[in-house]
Amino acid sequence: MKKRISYEYSSEGVRQSILRHAKSLRMPDGWAEQIAQRVAKACDVWIEDKDIVTEDDLRIFICKELEGISPDLAYSYHNHDKII
């Protein structure tokens, strides 16, 4: 059976990971930072009443949030591990 790894949710981690994707899309720094903060805040609110979430749930939520702001960024976030 596959061992499950659990770790504490980090708003900063979400922000950083969105920033990384935004940078790889060559988004302007200010705009990237703004998007990252907005989505990280939305994540904080969404996760508040949950005891446990899977990484996939979190990723789907982030992609949904990003879809409304920047579809390219949402695409990058959702598909970065499906290249090879």
């Binding site: 994707h21 790889s24 390219d72 695409y75 598909n79 591990d81 090879i84």
Partner: protein, 229 residues
């Protein structure tokens, strides 16, 4: 065999190898991970090292096989060995069409998932040129089940050309193999995002599958026409 025929075979073989997706996909991964973490200059250096790594392994493999053929097979592949290569190309064409890509709107390949995750992890963790070089060599190694027969044919062609053209033939082959990676480098360098390139790959997956398959079939038909008969 005339030099022109050898160069034509090398061009076709190079094209068939260039249509393989692992090294190219690895480069996209490296770009994606590096552009999110490093300055553009560093990303350029890392991707250059990656391409160099993939090309050097290819060059060493072809040169090694050429040496092996010249030492043990008497200057050129036998007719039987050439026929085996043709058979392998046809099998590879079938694999390219039926199995190479996974289903779905992505460009995932039928690699062991643990290996694909390993390359993903390495691309993210790559911080200096030696690591990028190693990643390039790793991707070229991982592609070898598909490209080994091509190496044999290219090595054979190189041995058959006149002595003064052998280095030129090898460089010509490497240039064709590097073309997709160099094109991506220029594309990104011109201000485009690597995600656009990946979106193009996903959108035209059927086309790339067809091109890969067709290039292997053409190569085998060419080999049958000019090297066997």
């Amino acid at each position: 065999m005339s030099d022109l025929l050898c160069f034509a075979t090398i061009a076709l073989a190079g094209f068939a190898q260039a249509s393989l997706q692992l090294s190219f996909g690895g480069l996209i991964l490296l770009y994606h991970a590096s552009m999110g973490q490093h300055r553009r200059k560093k990303t350029r250096r890392l991707t250059r090292a990656y391409v160099l790594g993939a090309l050097i392994i290819t060059m060493l493999a072809v040169s090694g096989i050429a040496f092996w053929i010249s030492q043990f097979a008497g200057q050129a592949l036998t007719l039987e060995a050439t026929m085996i290569c043709v058979g392998v190309f046809l099998a590879t064409a079938a694999v390219m069409w039926l199995l190479y890509y996974r289903r779905g709107r992505n460009t995932e390949l039928w690699l062991p998932r643990s290996f694909s995750r390993f390359i993903n992890r390495r691309a993210k963790a790559t911080n200096d040129q030696i690591e990028a070089f190693s990643l390039g060599t790793l991707s070229a190694f991982a592609e070898m089940p598909m490209s080994l027969a091509i190496f044999f044919v290219v090595a054979n062609c190189i041995l058959t050309t006149s002595a003064e053209l052998q280095i030129v033939a090898l460089l010509f082959y490497l240039l064709i193999v590097a073309l997709p990676m160099l094109t991506l480098k220029f594309y990104v360098r011109n201000g485009n995002s690597v995600v656009t390139a990946q979106q193009w790959r996903v959108k035209h997956k059927l086309f790339t599958r067809f091109v890969s398959c067709a290039s292997f079939i053409t190569l085998s038909a060419f080999m049958l026409a000019f090297w066997v008969y």
